[in-house]
Symmetry: C2
Subunit: 316 residues, 2 copies
């Protein structure tokens, strides 16, 4: 079997399985075709992962398949969009059957879990690099942007922060402790907050997913909205596992580590009051938007780092 | 100035210039937003180019910018779609200001020429690799697919074939001859047949762009349509420059070399008769679809190669 056939064999089932009714034509032609329903806007985002930069060398291909789709799909969550389909541009040094099989399995599992179908792609030979573009839809004009935060809005985050960052220290641990296993799970198989994102449409004034670190990502909202913020550091939610870390490590990670793929949103108090209790329960209020530019931290230890992690820069 | 700012400086103008009214939100948020007009389908395609595989090392960054967008946009032409916007996933070993400036200039010139606006992207550090995803729209249900060819349809190609393939032999020639300059132009700054593709909607039964070589690409139509074909080799259009080559070189290149980005389409004779004369004039009839599977060559020299060029395989 040629490399061409080998690769097709692993990816074809992802395109066929549980396709969205919006996807009129999947892989195999010059283009894929999507029919966006009336009254919906298309939202889309591309993310690239490079071996040795965004994931370790010899990283588990199953986890890579899951993680790469989770990372990309998280941007749909941040816009409040319902996932539809994705493309995969995969550059590989060689067509290794075991690697492809495990990678396709991780990707297929994520695809089924998130409800997003493979629509097309390109496979080329070269250093291991993946670019995934995800497509979703949202009610016309209602996508959550970074630019809508206003003075007085509450700043909220979902879940707990810092676990995936803590995991970086022992990705290769041969026999991880219970605490280590808990945070490793957050790193290897992140769960984008797709349902929550959609529930916040019509309520949140601005949203972003926490991929570079809370302070860095909140700063993107402040820049886009031309406002400032005050954050209560001791309210930033952390897992029990993370809180076991010594000194300020936990809070530093919760404020500055990326890769958790939780949401950070701003909500006007009157909208918060309207929000169903079940959605409120998914969020923790950590601060408030202020008119004066700048990000002010209250109640934290003195030596909190204030720089997010930035891989070369997401730019255009 | 940081790398982040440097890159933004070069790409931001591409996003701002002549944006499509469909692009409600461009780069800078978690996702871009496109509003597809009622009665139109979205078509999209991704293409990856790797240094040393799809273009030579130390290739002109201006030409790379043009070529990468031309190659990707050609897939929209093959579907009969009108271009709207594109994303760029750019992996770079370093943020070199001169390189970025020239690359962005080539990309901007292609973007303005093809009428397609930068909608978003991702920039990462690593071996030089580009993935471009292009978006276009076409009237609902009327996209040109590979699967519609039927027995009796005429097989037509646009322009002339083989020039870009001939250029590969002297990409680095220090002082190219006139003939070499003519075919080098085809390689460095290919012109996707966007207008022609749109003019063929409602007439052509199947279409593909010639990126891997005429025989290989026509075979994709035959496979998708479950038919065969007979091609008159002496009718395959070649430029005057190409015909200067010795022996069978010219016809071999015209049949098997990729990178010209012309269109190969099938049209039922009654549709051909309806086609405006100005559109007929852009096409050369080179053969006919037959019910019996297989690709038969008439009137050619004996030693015609019948394998298209395949980089690792475009697969999913």
């Amino acid at each position: 079997m040629g490399e061409f056939e080998l690769i097709r064999q692993f990816f074809q089932p992802l395109a066929a399985a549980g396709g969205s009714s919006q996807l009129l034509l999947g892989p195999g032609d010059d283009c894929a075709i999507q029919r966006v329903p009336p009254g919906r806007d298309l939202v889309f985002s591309v993310d690239t992962l490079v071996e040795g930069v965004h994931f370790p060398e010899r990283y588990s291909p199953f986890n890579l398949g899951w993680r790469s789709l989770a990372v990309a799909t998280s941007d749909l969550a941040a816009m409040g969009a319902a996932p539809v389909c994705f493309t995969l541009a995969l550059t590989l040094p060689e067509a290794n059957e075991d690697w492809l099989s495990d990678f396709a399995e991780g990707l297929a599992k994520a695809s089924a879990t998130f409800g997003i179908t493979l629509a097309g792609g390109d496979t080329t030979r070269g250093p291991l690099t993946l670019s995934l573009q995800v497509h979703g839809t949202v009610r016309e004009g209602e996508a959550l942007r970074r630019s809508g935060a206003a003075s007085g809005d509450l700043i909220c985050v979902s879940g707990t922060l810092g676990d995936a960052g803590a995991a970086l220290a022992f990705l290769d641990a041969p026999s991880p402790s219970d605490m280590e296993r808990a945070v490793l799970e957050q790193y290897h198989v992140p769960q984008p907050r797709l349902t929550l994102g959609q529930q916040l449409v019509g309520y949140a004034s601005a949203a972003i997913d926490v991929s570079d670190g809370l302070l860095a990502d909140l700063q993107h909202i402040l820049d886009a909205s031309n406002v400032g913020a005050r954050v209560q550091v001791n309210k930033v939610p952390m897992s029990a596992a993370l809180q076991n870390l010594e000194g300020n490590k936990a809070v530093n990670l919760a404020l500055t580590a990326g890769d958790d793929y939780q949401l950070c949103v701003t909500i006007a108090p009157e909208q918060w009051a309207r929000l169903p209790g079940s959605v409120q329960a998914e969020l923790t209020v950590i601060g408030q938007i202020e008119a004066s530019p700048g990000l002010r931290l209250d109640g934290g230890q003195k030596n909190v780092q204030t720089q997010g992690f930035d891989h070369f820069g997401r730019t255009v």
